[in-house]
Symmetry: C2
Subunit: 244 residues, 2 copies
Amino acid sequence: MTYCVAMHLADGLVFISDSRTNAGIDQISTFGKLFVFSVPGDRLIVLQTAGNLATSQSVINLLEQRTRATGNHLLNVATLYDATVLVAETLREVVLRDRSVLTEEIELSSSFIVGGQIAGAPMGIYNVYAQGNFFQATPDTPFLQLGESKYGRPILDRNLSYCTPLDEALRCGLISFDSTIRSNLSVGMPLDLLVYRKDRLQAMERLRITSDDPYYRQIRQQWSDGLKQLLAELPPPPRDYLAE
Amino acid sequence: MTYCVAMHLADGLVFISDSRTNAGIDQISTFGKLFVFSVPGDRLIVLQTAGNLATSQSVINLLEQRTRATGNHLLNVATLYDATVLVAETLREVVLRDRSVLTEEIELSSSFIVGGQIAGAPMGIYNVYAQGNFFQATPDTPFLQLGESKYGRPILDRNLSYCTPLDEALRCGLISFDSTIRSNLSVGMPLDLLVYRKDRLQAMERLRITSDDPYYRQIRQQWSDGLKQLLAELPPPPRDYLAE
C-alpha cells in the first residue's frame, strides 16, 4: 500500500509521500512515489502515485521520455488542467496495453495526485482516480490523500484549513504520516517531502526524510508524549459510566 | 457502516459501539449494536455487531429466544468459548438460510465481538469473522475493533495496553470514537457503552451516550483544543524542509 498527502493552501503547496511498496507482506521494498517536472521560472509540476508499481513507473517513464519529444508534454502544456489530462491519458494507455495480455484477474491500475503551478495561472492539486477521471481540491477541503488514508485523516480534518501557514501544515502532515506508519505496516519510511511557495516557479527537488532524521524524531516523540499527557488530563468519567 | 471497540484489560472489559446504520447514504437510521446476556452472579456476556442489519438482528433474536428453550444457549453454556461457538453457528445458520433464496449478489454477513465472563473462568473477548471462525484478544493486543476501524486506531495503538486502568481506557475509547465520527459520516452518535469490572458477574445495562452528554462534550472539546495546542507547540521545521 501507500500513503500520500497533498495540500493546497493560501501560501503554497505541501506534498508528502511514503516510500513502501509491497507485493504480499513478504516482499517489501522502498520506491519513491513523488516525482517532479519543472522548468525554472515557468512551471513546477509534482506527481504522487499509489497502486500498481509497474503501472505507476510506466506512466512516469512515458511522461518523462515524452518531454524530450515533439507534441504535448508536461513541460509545455498550457495549464495544470491539461497536465492532469495528460497524466490521466497516459495512465489509461498503460493499463489498456498491459491488460490486453492479462490471463488472470490482477488489479493493474494506479491513482495519481497532480499538483503545482504554471506561470500566469493559480496553483492547484488534482486527484486522478484509477479510472482516469479526476477532481481538484478546493479551499473547502484543501487536501487530497492517496492510499491508506484513514489512519492519518482525523488530524488533517481537525487541524488543516486553507489558511493554515505552510510550516504548521507541514507539521500536521508529518504527524498524519507518523500515525499511519505506527498503525499500518504497509506504509513506511523514508518520506519524500516537497514544499512549494506560491508564485516561486522554481525548479525544486524533493527532500527525503529518513527515520533517523533529528527533526522528525523530535516531533514524533513530542507528539506521542503530548498525546499521553492530554489523555491523562481529561477529566475522569462520571461514576455511572464506570459501573461503580 | 459501524464502529465497535472492545477492550480486555487487567481490571475489566470495556465495550463501546456506535448506533448508525445505513443502506446507502440517503437511508440512515439509529440501531443499537451492543447486546447483553446475563445471569446475576453467574455470567455477563456482551455482543457487539457490524455488517448486514437483517442478519445481525436475526442472530440476536435467535440467540435471545433460544435462552427460553431447552438445549445449549448463551445463559447456560459452560464457557465463553462455547458462547462464541454458539454465536458463530447462529450466524452461519442465518446466512445460509437467507442466502439460499438470494437472486442477486448481496453481502449478507455480519461480524461479532463476544465478550464477558462466566463464573469460575477468566474474562475474554472474541472476534467472530463474517465467515464464522473467530479469535481471542490477548494481553499483547488487548482490544478488538469492528467496522470503520482505521480512523480511531492510532489513538488506541499509541495509548492502550493491558494494564491501562478502566477509566483511562474508557477516555481513550471515547476519543477514538470522536475521531472516527468526525471523519466518517457512516459512524454516528449516540454511543452505547458498557464497562465491566473483573469478577463482578453482575447483570449490567448498557449506558447510552448522546451527543448532548455533558461529559462527552467536555472531553471532545478539551481533546480538540489540546491537539491544536500540541500541534502549535511542535518546533518549527528546519529551513530546508520549507524550501526557504
